[in-house]
């Protein structure tokens, strides 16, 4: 075949595909052009003008209103519920499993699924307006154990964060490897609530974990890190109670560390007993720091528990699962509150023991993420 004919055919095909792409993009912009839509929040207390066409979740995020979500808008967590009084249209099939009958009556919707196509009226709890986005610099990354890293991040100059000890942040990854888009996960803050210009997180490597693998293999000191927060209702109550029973395993130590410092720095009178469960000596960390706190503040008792210490560990402390120590050392629930952070199995086992001792849902606190 003549070479010229082949070139002409290739050019013609390229022109046709180019023309088709232009037609498709023009028709998309016409068909999906919802113009500017007004979002009326809390009966006119805030009115936003946004470009229609995006999800309510991302439209609000663009306006610096961050609705808690754990799956990044993929309709698998059901956390991003917002009351939409007008403008959302009928409930979508993807929302149905997540919205109870009671919530339907309150006009609750999954903000990741509802598209902004017209003016809307929304109700958003006031506390969510305290949630901000921070582009921090990673200034330190230390190995606390073989699978837990401590990330220390500096907030941009002039910015401050105010959080309650025990709360968590959403940490956003950048695309890496097969991960082609940003994902985010929730991590408790381990630093002191009195520190407003830095944040620390403890991140344990989860095999095949989408976010923890990023932290452990791709992130470097000096990188910019995007965070949003603070989120969550895991924080100190303490009213009418004398003693705080704190229980953690692995990276669940993070919010407990923040809580311990909060009690001490505020000069609160509560006694604190911190049961920290681990398998072997190599899973323990912050040992010197907690031992020092114990020495300096008699109100604090640290009880590390090793489930199966190795002979070479020469372990002299509490042996067995953290549940054993809890069973043996906590007599009753009188004037006590319990704060837990760890894996679901550990949480369930500890909650069962605590309830047998008289603790109730009102005196047991833990994060559900």
């Amino acid at each position: 075949m003549d070479f010229g004919v082949i070139i002409k055919a290739v050019i013609s095909l390229a022109l046709i595909s180019g023309a088709l792409s232009v037609i498709i993009s023009i028709s998309e912009s016409v068909l999906n052009n919802y113009g500017t839509c007004e979002l009326d929040i809390n009966n006119g207390s805030k009115v936003l003008s946004v470009k229609g066409g995006s999800s309510l979740l991302s439209s609000l995020a663009n306006e610096r209103i961050f609705i808690p979500s754990a799956c990044g808008g993929k309709a698998t967590c059901g956390l991003c519920k917002v009351a939409v009084l007008e403008g959302a249209g009928p409930l979508l099939l993807t929302e149905e499993p997540y919205i109870t009958q009671e919530e339907r009556a309150q006009h609750m919707r999954l903000s990741c699924q509802v598209k902004v196509k017209t003016n809307m009226k929304l109700l958003i709890p006031d506390e969510l307006f305290n949630i901000k986005e921070y582009i921090c610099e990673l200034v330190g990354m230390d190995d606390m154990t073989y699978d837990i890293k401590r990330l220390r991040m500096k907030l941009p100059l002039g910015e401050e964060i105010h959080f309650k000890a025990g709360q968590f942040m959403q940490f956003y990854t950048k695309p890496y490897g097969k991960v082609k888009e940003e994902v985010f996960r929730a991590y408790s803050i381990s630093s002191k609530a009195s520190e407003h210009d830095h944040l620390e997180l403890l991140i344990r490597l989860v095999p095949e974990g989408i976010c923890t693998t990023y932290v452990h293999t791709a992130l470097k000191v000096g990188d910019k890190v995007r965070l949003s927060g603070p989120y969550g209702d895991f924080y100190l109550r303490g009213e009418g109670c004398d003693e705080l029973i704190m229980i953690a395993g692995g990276s669940g130590l993070a919010p407990i560390r923040s809580l311990v410092y909060d009690v001490i720095e505020k000069g609160l009178p509560h006694k604190m007993r911190f049961f920290f469960g681990a398998n072997t000596l190599r899973d323990l960390y912050y040992m010197d720091e907690f031992a020092q706190i114990e020495k300096d503040y008699p109100q604090f008792t640290f009880i590390p528990c090793l489930a199966r210490p190795e002979p070479e560990d020469n372990w002299q402390g509490q042996t067995g699962f953290v549940t054993v120590a809890l069973e043996e050392q906590v007599d009753n629930a009188e004037k006590k509150e319990a704060y837990l952070c760890g894996s679901p199995g550990m949480l369930n086992a500890c909650i069962t023991i605590l309830k047998n001792k008289g603790f109730t849902d009102d005196t047991i606190f833990f994060d559900k993420f």
Partner: protein, 158 residues
Amino acid sequence: MKENPKDALLRIDMEAGRLIKEGFLGEDERPISDIISADLDTLTELEVSHVELARAMRRLTRRGMEGMGEVVDAGDYLVKSEEYMGWLGCPFKDNRRAAKRNTQAVDKQTGREMRWSDLSIHLIEQHAFFQGKGSAFRLEPAELASFLRLPAPEGAAE
């Protein structure tokens, strides 16, 4: 066969890096409904259901959980379940979340080993989805049934 629009959306969420790092489909390019049908055909031939398989897996996982990270002797198997903070949402968007827990089971007689996650159990039980070929957590239905000694021989105690 052409993928229906619902499956096409599901496929996007099942790709690597969306909900989990390696995704649910591996190298499998078949429509999701075809993957499920083919595996169900295998189970029909074996005369065992996906629900029975999932229940047997869950029983072993629960035994493994008793060890809190330590190997547990569970009769015909040695089982170890390891868990992490957090949970994974189901890609079928049914408002079910699975703990981030992996179970490793070894058949004491044969030395054969299989592993699964809590999400795998849910996907098999509720959606008959054993994941795509080449996926890190794909479980071949025939291999799984044989590993779990299902269907149980007639007259065998449950």
